[in-house]
């Protein structure tokens, strides 16, 4: 199987996945600058691009997903991209994910890179004092610590934003105390410190 490249496309209104690519001999597929919307309008559980056992390299760059998630139908897109078992190197970079239930579902053990994707944030504050706040998105956020000077603040990432525990850098805002440590998982950022207060700036990358 040779290369396939799709650019500047419009993919609307599929009963199942908009794009389904499967097979170990499929190689070098690119989706560039395309709109992949309205998939899955009459059935539940399907989404934009579904990769099943694709051993070759997949590049999904600069596309828009889920902008009109229920185009003419009742169901939102379950995901923007699903990287299925057995799929190899997949780059998902600089895409916009709008109203997907999950941006990226990754059940692969292969090399999946998520970077600089954006869209409405589905990150939220977990435990962080009384009435904490969060502005920005999973990649760039400002955390406002709640009342009570907690020793730990937790940010919950939305589903499918990172393929693994991201690397994060957290800096205290003016007047805020220094942090003692951070920890990340694929779904959470935890900031530890003594009597956290004020604001903290965080940048996270897959």
């Amino acid at each position: 199987m040779g290369k396939a490249k799709f650019s500047n496309g419009l993919f609307f209104s599929a009963q199942k996945d908009c794009v389904l690519i499967e097979g170990s001999n499929v190689t070098d597929i690119k989706f560039l600058s395309s709109d992949i919307n309205g998939c899955n309008e009459s059935n539940g559980g399907f989404g934009g691009i579904n990769l099943i056992g694709v051993s070759g390299e997949i590049n999904i760059l600069g596309n828009t997903f889920c902008e009109v998630s229920n185009y003419g139908g009742a169901f939102p897109m379950a995901y923007g991209v699903k990287v299925g078992a057995g799929t190899g190197k997949t780059q998902i970079v600089d895409n916009s994910f709008w109203d997907c239930t999950a941006r990226v579902v990754n059940v692969s053990t292969g090399n999946v890179m998520l970077r600089a994707n954006n869209g409405p944030s589905n990150a939220s504050m977990g435990s962080c004092g009384g009435n904490p706040g969060l502005q920005g998105n999973e990649q760039h956020m400002t955390i406002s610590v709640g009342t009570g000077t907690p020793s730990r603040c937790v940010v919950n990432f939305g589903s499918g934003n990172f393929s693994k525990a991201p690397t994060c850098v957290v800096s205290p805002g003016p007047g805020s105390v220094a942090i003692s440590s951070i920890a990340t998982t694929q779904t959470q950022l935890t900031i530890n410190g003594t009597k956290l207060s004020g604001t903290y700036f965080a940048i996270c990358q897959d």
């Binding site: 396939a4 799709f6 908009c18």
Partner: protein, 363 residues
Amino acid sequence: MRLRLSVRWGSLLFWASVILMGLACQSEAACPVPNPNINAFIGYQRLIDDCPLPAGTLNRAIMQRPAIVNAPEYCPIIDGTTDNSSCLTSAVATLCSQSPQGGELYLSQGNYLVRDLNMPCPIVIRGAGMSTASINYQGATTAGLRWVVAGFPSITPSHQLWGGGISGVTLTYTSGSADALLVEGFNQWFARDVKIVNPQGGVHIKSGFGQKLDNVRLENVNGFMVKIEGDLSGRKRDGSACSTSSPDCSSRVDFVTLDHINSYSNGVNGHCVELIGFANTIMGEHIACEGFDRGLSITCPAGMAADLSQCPHFIFMNDFQNEFFNSYGLYATDFLDLKMDKPYFYGNAAAANQNNVYIAVVN
């Protein structure tokens, strides 16, 4: 002064000789060697061929034009109900009997009823225009108008013919009775400014190099719009059967250009653009399909080379619009190198089991 007079007299003598020859040829009896095959030639072609110029007066080759046959001179009744198959076949035979073979079959205004017509040599069917010249095809064969080289596919690449095509005509088929156009064994065949109504399938290209479709409109198609299909049934240059180890094969297809092609289907049975097997370098631009089962279908039969070199490859589609497909916008298995820029896939919401794009390896 003397030189100027000389030029004037020379010019006058030249034009006088041309006029006199034209007057002489208004009567066939005046022509020195009547040729029964050129009664239908029109315009200057008739003048040139009926009245060969004395050697040395003019370079005959400069004025040579492709042979042109005016269909009404072979078909006295063109009313849409009288079968014109025999008279058009005679016109085609006239063109094919010449050396070099081929030429132009001109369809003036009218509705030609055809039940069977094959062009065994490079014939261009040129109509007076889509709105004035039409062919009403009522044949029972599965292929409608055909450009088929005798003996295909058992011919070598050197036996393929060059040229042929169709333009400026509307083809209307008895619904579902036949595929509209079939091309086998020709290179650089073309269809331009053609409208096709009610065919079973549209344009079927089964071999050749450099075919081109430009500004073709198909309506109410029951099967495919364009099918480009190559295989290994032909012969190599040395006469031996084609094999998976050699690209030299008379039944492969190369360098097809599709430009401004649009169609709608009522049958949802066929695929809009279908690439099968040994078909390479297919370039499409501004293609619109509506109501087909698949928009672009790319498949390769089992038994081709393991490296897929006899499967569709080098496929470039720009601005491929496909609406209300029932199964797939793009169905692609076993191919090499596909690029689509500005594809648009919008599925039929009422149909089940559809993906906009399905890519897999099956063989």
